[in-house]
């Protein structure tokens, strides 16, 4: 067994804060959407919760951005290289087919490369597109006096609402897959425990050079033939 340090403490705290906020936002958002925002009173407690948690969530989101910008290791995790682009179909093939036949993960997590190419893409999409758009559209709903007239004059509220809802559905879809993928570790809760304690035990059957995509690709091909 080999101990791999994956998640530094600030990121772990951020992850669980963010997770709690997002789940609460999803629950309250679902309530608001199901009842229809037109029939929700302005002082409805659920609406106030949604607003409050949304506002509170901007702080972890800002922290994450600052951390990712300032921490070189964290920044490297999101850098898409040519290898990553080529690795996307490899990784997709792994999840769709070879995972059933005991295939090895072509991009096993390591301290240098925590994420496989698909993970990188998904996380980047969530963190750089979905969450910022949700935060910005959510903030625009706050009836800010300067913006209010512009938004109403441009008839933009409907559009903003549609974007907010579409991206919320996107986040729900992401969450479903994320939760499932989190159970694909060695044991059911290995990845979850990893996110709590910061490291994961890895089987020593894994070779050191398995981390490189070329080796992974050849090993995959070898398995198939």
């Amino acid at each position: 067994m080999r101990r791999i340090d994956l998640h530094p403490l600030p990121l772990r705290i951020w992850h669980w804060t963010n997770a709690g906020a997002v789940i609460l936002l999803m629950a309250t958002g679902l309530y608001l959407r199901l009842h229809g925002i037109a029939s929700i009173k302005p002082h409805d407690p659920v609406l106030l919760w949604h607003k409050g948690i949304g506002l509170a969530m901007t702080i972890p989101a800002l922290f994450w951005f600052l951390y990712t910008l300032l921490n070189p290791n964290q920044r490297r995790q999101y850098r898409m290289t040519g290898r990553d682009l080529k690795g996307i179909p490899v990784q997709a093939r792994f999840y769709l087919f070879s995972i059933f036949s005991e295939g090895e993960n072509p991009f096993p997590p390591s301290a240098e490369n925590k994420y496989n190419p698909l993970q990188k893409t998904a996380y980047a999409a969530v963190m750089f597109v979905l969450i910022p758009v949700q935060v910005v559209t959510g903030l625009l709903f706050l009836d800010i006096p300067v913006l209010r007239d512009h938004l109403l004059a441009g008839n933009l509220m409907g559009l903003l609402g549609a974007i907010h809802v579409i991206f919320a559905y996107g986040l729900v879809l992401y969450l479903i897959v994320h939760l499932y993928m989190a159970t694909l570790g060695d044991r059911f809760f290995s990845h979850t425990m990893g996110m709590i304690v910061g490291y994961e035990e890895q089987d020593n059957g894994m070779k050191e050079d398995k981390g490189s995509p070329t080796a992974a690709a050849t090993s995959l091909d070898g398995e198939r033939t």
Binding site: L34, S39, F100, S101, Y169, V172
Partner: protein, 304 residues
């Protein structure tokens, strides 16, 4: 009739005592009386007058008059203009815009003069105006003669003098007591925006009145008459044919959209709270959960 002249249902005992024995005892009278009273009171919601009348759904008005109480000087020229145009005489009590009655103490009456509006309060005069209610229009729903009809000009609710019998039911039904009653013609009358050119607005010297596009103010302005209900509750149930409150309506509309998407089924009602976005969500999320579960099951099965 029995042979000896005693009516049927009354038995004569064998001992020859001619005392009448009625077919029900006092106890039975009490029991059945109680049962029928209870029964009628239970059934009464279904027997309320007017519950069987069709629901009147009117198009929304195109305009309405709104007033700024700060600018109003209480001169009453709007009332004169109103009755001059509509009745050919100066009669503020008939006016469809009501300023006079709020002049001294405000809309909430004399008991509130100290803190209220009006000359005895803070001097603000609260004008009362017809809100041209969206359906259910309280006056139209209550009128037994269906005399409150939609005017072709500006789609206002107007009382047809041909049909009005002067029963004054609409006076009680209006939450803001905006219906006027003409004791000479014995007809009720109400604001119809003077065929889209309100004379009160033209007459106002203070610029307090303005004619604007219709907006639903019925939920925002508290009624003068809090006891008025636009619909009897059992009839209000039929409103849910079109507008269910929030959640059930959204669920119903989504299922209607699903049925439509799969072909067949009724067309989706025009006013939808749930949008196509949500339909996509309701398709995609179960799809995602389903595929994740299939993946998990396959992993389990293939690994064995």
């Amino acid at each position: 009739m029995k042979p000896n002249g005693v009516p049927a249902g009354i038995s004569v005992p064998r001992d020859g005592n001619t005392r009448l024995i009625l077919p029900c005892t006092r106890r039975q009278v009490l029991i059945w009386g109680g049962v029928s009273i209870t029964g009628w009171s239970v059934l009464s919601p279904f027997l309320v007058q007017g519950a069987d009348r069709p629901l009147i759904i009117m198009e929304k008005a195109q305009g309405m008059v709104v007033a700024d109480p700060v600018l109003c000087v209480g001169c009453g020229r709007c009332e004169l203009a109103c009755t001059e145009f509509n009745d050919g005489k100066a009669s503020p009590s008939l006016s469809r815009i009501k300023v006079d009655r709020n002049l001294n103490s405000g809309a909430r009456g004399a008991t509130t003069w100290r803190e209220g509006h009006g000359n005895f309060g803070d001097g603000l005069v609260v004008q009362d105006l017809c809100r041209q209610c969206p359906h259910p229009v309280p006056c139209a729903s209550i009128c037994p003669e269906n005399a409150v009809i939609l005017s072709p000009s500006a789609h206002t609710r107007v009382i047809d003098p041909e049909r009005c019998t002067g029963c004054k039911v609409c006076l009680q039904a209006c939450p803001w007591e905006m219906i006027s009653y003409d004791p000479h013609s014995r007809k009720a009358t109400k604001c119809h925006l003077c065929q889209g050119k309100p004379k009160c607005v033209e007459a106002c010297p203070a610029g307090s009145l303005s004619y604007v596009a219709w907006r639903d103010l019925t939920g925002e302005i508290p009624p003068r008459n809090p006891n008025s209900s636009p619909l009897p509750p059992e009839r209000a149930l039929s409103c849910q044919e079109c507008h269910l409150p929030g959640l059930p309506q959204n669920i119903r509309q989504t299922s209607a959209m699903m049925r439509q998407l799969l072909g067949g089924g009724k067309a989706v009602p025009e006013r939808i709270g749930f949008k196509w976005i949500d339909l996509a969500g309701t398709v995609l999320i179960p799809l995602a959960i389903g595929s994740v579960l299939v993946h998990a099951v396959l992993r389990k099965v293939r690994k064995r």
